[in-house]
């Protein structure tokens, strides 16, 4: 049973990776939420002894390969964001879902700023506020993902 449970977390992260690279129309692409970050955030808050910085680092490496960025950029940004959650999970668990959504928004801003900052160091890219739209879509998405993954976790009794 432990093996089957192991696969649930890994497969939700894989689904998030697929959603992260799924081709979308250009208009919608701007608002693509940070699927991987949200899913990692849920598991970190729910099961911090199973998912924390290490898993985030590996998921980040996978994203670097999929997105063709220099290896290490997404893994750094994801590990840093997940660290903040893992360090404060006991407090964050007691917040209501909407308060958590705000925290997720802040976390997404951190994630995007780290991403932008690192890529700005490597190549000369200008900042556009359009890069920040995913923060809002991630905040809106959070309650639904939270509900879905909690249901999954309780039904399969993943600990």
């Amino acid at each position: 049973m432990l093996r089957a449970r192991h696969y649930v977390i890994a497969s939700t992260i894989l689904v998030a990776l697929v959603l992260q690279i799924m081709p979308l129309p250009i208009q919608a692409d701007l608002y693509r939420p940070d699927w991987v970050l949200i899913v990692l955030a849920y598991w970190t808050m729910a099961l911090p002894h199973r998912v924390n910085v290490g898993v985030a680092f590996l998921a980040g490496l996978a994203m670097d390969i999929l997105l063709g960025t220099a290896l290490g950029i997404h893994s750094l940004a994801l590990s840093a964001s997940v660290y903040v959650l893992a360090a404060n999970y006991q407090r964050l668990r007691n917040y209501s879902v909407w308060q958590q959504a705000i925290i997720i928004g802040l976390l997404c801003s951190l994630y995007h700023l780290v991403l932008f900052w690192l890529q700005h160091l490597l190549t000369d890219i200008p900042f556009q506020f359009a890069y920040l739209w995913p923060i809002f879509s991630s905040m809106i998405l959070w309650p639904w993902i939270f509900w879905l993954l909690r249901k999954l976790r309780r039904q399969l009794t993943i600990t």
């Binding site: 697929v18 690279i21 220099a70 890069y131």
Partner: protein
């Protein structure tokens, strides 16, 4: 097992380790290019995810194809027949010109430009990293794709291959901020370097002195310098020239001829290889007629 004591290194140490590893990876990958050869394997491991992500698009295309009406097919057929007729007329003239050109080049002792091997590839996915302009195509190392190979569409140069996987590869577009392409003006053969600026419809010409003769509407073709892109393929058309004497150089922008935002079928070139002898005749026909004609 949920204990209050964590196993393994503490959270802070894990973060320190992750950051140190990431920084090391970034440095090794970006500055030292240490993963040039391993990237093929890494991409191949990850490519199933890309195929899954691409599935909805494939299914939609398939169903759209099944649902096209008889009328639309007829209209398409007529349009293509007309186009074919026009192109074959152009081809007739082109063949004569080509023979004549080869003759003249021989007279001048200039090497005749050979036919090159080509292959049609299809767009798999557009990268959604907002900081870079890259696409995935469905041909890889198995088809003979190599690093920094030129990629074209039906109008002009699209970009070059940046990473090769086993069955797919990543192409960086000429409009990416990290990309520059050597070009020359078709009107007066002045050489420029056209760099991307992250927008699909704009290239910058770098370091153009105010005295240089460049006008709006000038056609820019690849100059073949730098030995990445073969010579003579259309790249862009100059869209604006601003002479501000307060600045050291003129501000010249050009619009790429390839429609970078609506790519579907792409052409890969092997400038070093001639088409195989038995397909040589075929290779002279319009590229859209046959797929994988280089094989």
């Amino acid at each position: 097992m949920d204990t209050i004591f964590t196993r393994g290194p503490s959270l802070n140490n894990r973060l320190a380790l992750a950051i140190a590893l990431s920084v090391l990876l970034i440095f090794a990958d970006h500055k030292l290019d240490a993963f040039q050869s391993t990237r093929v394997y890494l991409n191949s491991i990850m490519s199933p995810l890309q195929y899954i992500a691409n599935l909805p698009k494939v299914l939609l295309n398939e169903s759209a194809q099944r649902l096209t009406s008889h009328q639309a097919l007829l209209a398409d057929n007529e349009r293509l027949t007309n186009q074919n007729l026009k192109m074959s007329e152009q081809l007739q003239r082109f063949n004569v010109l080509q023979a004549e050109n080869a003759e003249l080049r021989k007279l001048l002792d200039v090497p005749v430009k050979p036919q090159v091997r080509k292959m049609v590839a299809e767009l798999m996915a557009v990268d959604n990293n907002p900081f870079s302009q890259q696409i995935m195509i469905n041909k890889g190392a198995l088809d003979g794709v190599y690093l920094s190979q030129s990629v074209l569409d039906d109008r002009g140069i699209v970009g070059q291959v940046m990473e090769v996987g086993t069955t797919n590869s990543r192409v960086v577009l000429i409009s990416d901020v990290t990309h520059a392409i050597p070009v020359r003006s078709l009107r007066n053969n002045i050489r420029f370097v056209a760099t991307g600026n992250g927008a699909f419809d704009e290239l910058f010409l770098e370091h153009v002195p105010h005295s240089v003769d460049v006008q709006e509407g000038d056609m820019l073709v690849s100059s073949g310098l730098g030995e990445v892109f073969p010579e003579g393929y259309p790249v862009a058309r100059v869209s604006s020239v601003v002479h501000d004497e307060g600045r050291p150089f003129a501000t010249v922008t050009a619009q790429p001829l390839a429609r970078l935002d609506r790519l579907k079928h792409l052409l890969l070139l092997w400038p070093q290889q001639r088409p195989d002898a038995d397909t040589e005749q075929q290779a002279q026909e319009p590229q859209s007629a046959a797929s994988q004609q280089g094989e």
